[in-house]
Amino acid sequence: MLYKTIDKEDLKNLIDVHLHDVECIGPRQVGTNAKGRPLYQFLPVSSFDDMDLDYDTTEYSAKTYFLPYKEVLSTFHFDDSGWTQDITYRKHPRIIVGLHRCDINGLVKLDKVFAKEFHPNPYYLSRRGNTLIIGIGCHKHCEGGFCSSIGSDSVTHGFDLFLTDIGDRYFVKVGSDRGFNALNKINVRDISDEDRNQYLSNRNNFESSFKKTVKVENLPNLLDIEFESEVWKKWGDKCMSCGSCAMVCPTCYCYGVTENLSMDFKKSEKTKQLYSCNLYDFAQVAGGHNFRPARETRLKYRYYHQHRGFVETFGQPMCVGCNRCSRVCLAGINPTEVIRDIQMEHGR
């Protein structure tokens, strides 16, 4: 990995001058909650100063720029002689500035599902390939975040540039050729001993301030054993099956597909909509049978996908510990507490 440093002012130059023509997404404050806490979202910005790179977390992950909530997969045109199909992929370049480690790790996990070597998803590939990622290290706890417990508090790939704030300059990890090329548009320096020491000292401070709040090492096996646990009923009774957790999650990718005919019967769209396993009809099949009519079962299977199924397939949990699902949940369902309950059940 290549490391460089840039002055903070030069990041602004990079975005506002050199990449001015490219759509830029960054963390913007959209309001405050009832307790006065600022709320941020990843939104298009017209200039660097619209962003607040000191944000703690965003309400929504940046997943939507790769897996939109609604996406037209193909359009069909009908005429007397038959039909034709059109498929278009989003090709416009985009930059996303300010993704934290958790969210970049979320993208790396989505890559495993959608950008795999055999049969990759072209809709995802097109968006992912045309998006320049400039990540930034967070330096303060977001409320309830448990990235360090789940192994997503460091990031090695999945970005083009990754910034760490070291005073008046950024310590920059270069993650790709195009990241390197972008960097060369501005004043860039090789790292000095002082830069390296400052970076390592920041990293140490970060690691010592982020305490592990939950143990996940043997979780896939525990989940297997605790399939019938009363813990699922306890949390399932709270669940309003509103799907908000999956909507804000950086890695939940389940979806449904519908066909929508136009009113003149001449055109049809096959539309994908992101869905949630907590919604009532998620496991309802043709003929009407619902394999998971109970809330607690649906809630359980969300944990099973995140912390068991994904681990079996990819050797790591799907969850990145961003805790957005917990913050958005009106009923207060909190993954660290659910996991701890399961562990208590097993007397550990």
Binding site: M247, M263, L330
Partner: protein
Amino acid sequence: MKYLGIETQKPKIAIFDFTSCEGCQLQLVNKEETLADFLAAVEVVNFREASSARSDDYDIAFIEGAVSRNDEVKRLTAIREKAKVLVALGTCACFGGVNKLKNEFEMKDINRDVYGKNPKETLWVRSVGEVVKVDLEIPGCPVSKNEVEAIVRHVILGAPFTFPVYPVCVECKQRFTSCLMEKGQLCLGPITRGGCNAPCSVGGTGCWGCRGPATDPNYDSFFAVTADRGFSKEDVAERMGFYGTFQEVQNR
């Protein structure tokens, strides 16, 4: 009109208004970009608000509004006998709607307050389904023209139509709303059926539940959540009673 080379059927539809603001039938003539196509796909034989056609020969009768008078009961019963398919159009037809607030008061008091010295013969408000058999309910105050169009297309093609089972929260989140409950407002989104695309909550006003309950709503958790956030039982009950859509839980 042809679809994939096959001539489609053109159902004869009639729209009838009962106790309501007539806003739902107004929705039927909204969405101008597809209005001509919509009207070409059906044959409107009776639609007081939009057409001078008056015929009693129809396949599908859309009933707008609740039932609150004896003459309405007679008219509705006659329509039911003629219609092959009877559709309750809008929240008033499906649930009674805001008209059902009347049922909370004494009949003599409301008659005096509304009609003064000239009292009228009036009934307790009922939904269409409480009077005659209903084949399909399209909820909403007002109905969504998008949804009505989709239903009409499904009818023409003979394909089953399903409403979303999930609550309003799904579509509200998919429009990047900052949760109104988090901002201190009461919102019935978590227990109300989606499909409206959350225009109220996205616009900054908490959901009033016009589309009725989502499938298998978790009322107990919702009541705990609202109590925990400092909303009184009375405030929650008043909100849920506004459209008469939550009687399944309010009468239990």
